[in-house]
Amino acid sequence: MLTATGLSCVRGERRLFAGLDLAVGPGEWLHVQGENGAGKTSLLRILATLSPPAEGEVRWQGEPVEVLAEDYRRAMLFLGHHGAVKEELTPLENLTLAAQLDGFELDEATALQALVRFGLRGREDLAVRFLSAGQKRRVLLARLAVRKAALWILDEPFTALDVKAVAMLSGLIEEHLAAGGMAILTSHQSMPLPNGRVLKI
């Protein structure tokens, strides 16, 4: 369970939002909506502990996230605008290295299976820079599939994806929620997923 109380965010002279409360429980997801520049990404970065809030606090299972530190980071997966995909490496190498960075070993069979699931069969040994923007995002989706995390924080996960990949990602999030996972995401599309709530900033 992730709760946040009284969050506010200040960028330079501007106050993006103040007194923001939110709560996401197991099996629930939160759709953060707002205009461009409203502070959606800033909110997600605060929830992911990448930047501290100006006021307020974020709690995970009742404990402040700063206290939990690496226990929280292990339970959470953050995907930002930049996918953290290395252009020079192949999708397979990217997946294995991301897993090692996340602190678990990923065997090749599982990694390949995830890549095949997201339509990257035959591309696993090709450097990522030869892939299209959408295919790069698909490498990230494969990472979602292999990483065990209770909370997903996804910033614009549908960017550059085609209709088929959007359906795949929706399916993936639905599976995650059904297994008791939680998700917070920003998107300008409407999402037909159960147990969702909308947060407007």
Partner: protein, 221 residues
């Protein structure tokens, strides 16, 4: 621990895929060092005298070349964010990156130095001291450089700022590194200089990853 090894392996793999960056620094080092004997002519006494200084200055500048790219690509593609969010402490991952930087830029300089030193008519003993001093000094250059690279991350025109920031901090390494070979040639023994270099390295191993981590966190906020 496995995350650090993974980071080192990843950076070495990336260096293999982007060979030109590593080779540029290496060829720069070879060419700068080789130009001096050609320009000065075959006066072995003079060459022996300037050799340590020339090789060390070239090593400093060659290390500087790739420094701006130490964290910049990771910052641009979001890998740095994922490193901050890794369950492994950022300080350890940063140490891994510094180790990889040394293996790709420092270690080749150490291995090439004795070959280049022959051009300056250095004897075997002096070449040995030169290699030993570089072996202690080049990790120091990578460690100090990492602090500068992290501080100038995301700054416009960061490359110039980086040199202004880092080169003064390289001065102790330059003085003791070049001094070690000089004092060996003059018969005083290189022990004192090498010990000081080793002490600086020990200090940097302890403090530099910590300072770099703090600077990276500021850059990411």
């Amino acid at each position: 621990m496995s995350a650090i090894i993974a980071i080192i392996r990843r950076d070495l793999l990336l260096a293999m895929r982007r060979k030109s960056e590593v080779l540029t620094a290496l060829f720069f080092f070879i060419i700068v060092v080789s130009l001096f004997p050609l320009g000065i002519g075959p006066e072995s006494a003079l060459l022996r005298k300037i050799a340590p200084g020339v090789i060390w200055v070239a090593a400093l500048l060659a290390t500087m070349l790739g420094l701006a790219r130490l964290f910049a690509p990771d910052h641009a593609d979001g890998t740095l964010e994922q490193m901050v969010l890794s369950p492994t402490p950022l300080g350890l991952l940063v140490t891994g990156k510094i180790v990889a930087h040394w293996i790709t830029t420092g270690l080749p300089l150490v291995l090439l130095a004795p070959v280049l030193g022959i051009q300056f008519d250095l004897d075997t003993g002096a070449l040995g001291i030169l290699v030993l001093a570089l072996l202690l000094g080049t990790p120091l250059l990578s460690l100090i450089g990492a602090i500068g690279a992290a501080l100038t991350l995301g700054v416009r025109g960061g490359g110039v700022l980086l040199s202004l920031l880092v080169l003064p901090l390289y001065v102790p390494a330059l003085i003791f590194g070049a001094g070690a070979v000089e004092s060996h040639i003059s018969g005083l023994g290189a022990g004192g200089h090498l010990s000081l270099l080793a002490a600086l390295l020990a200090l940097a191993v302890f403090f530099a990853p910590w300072a770099t981590t703090a600077a990276l966190r500021i850059a990411l906020e």
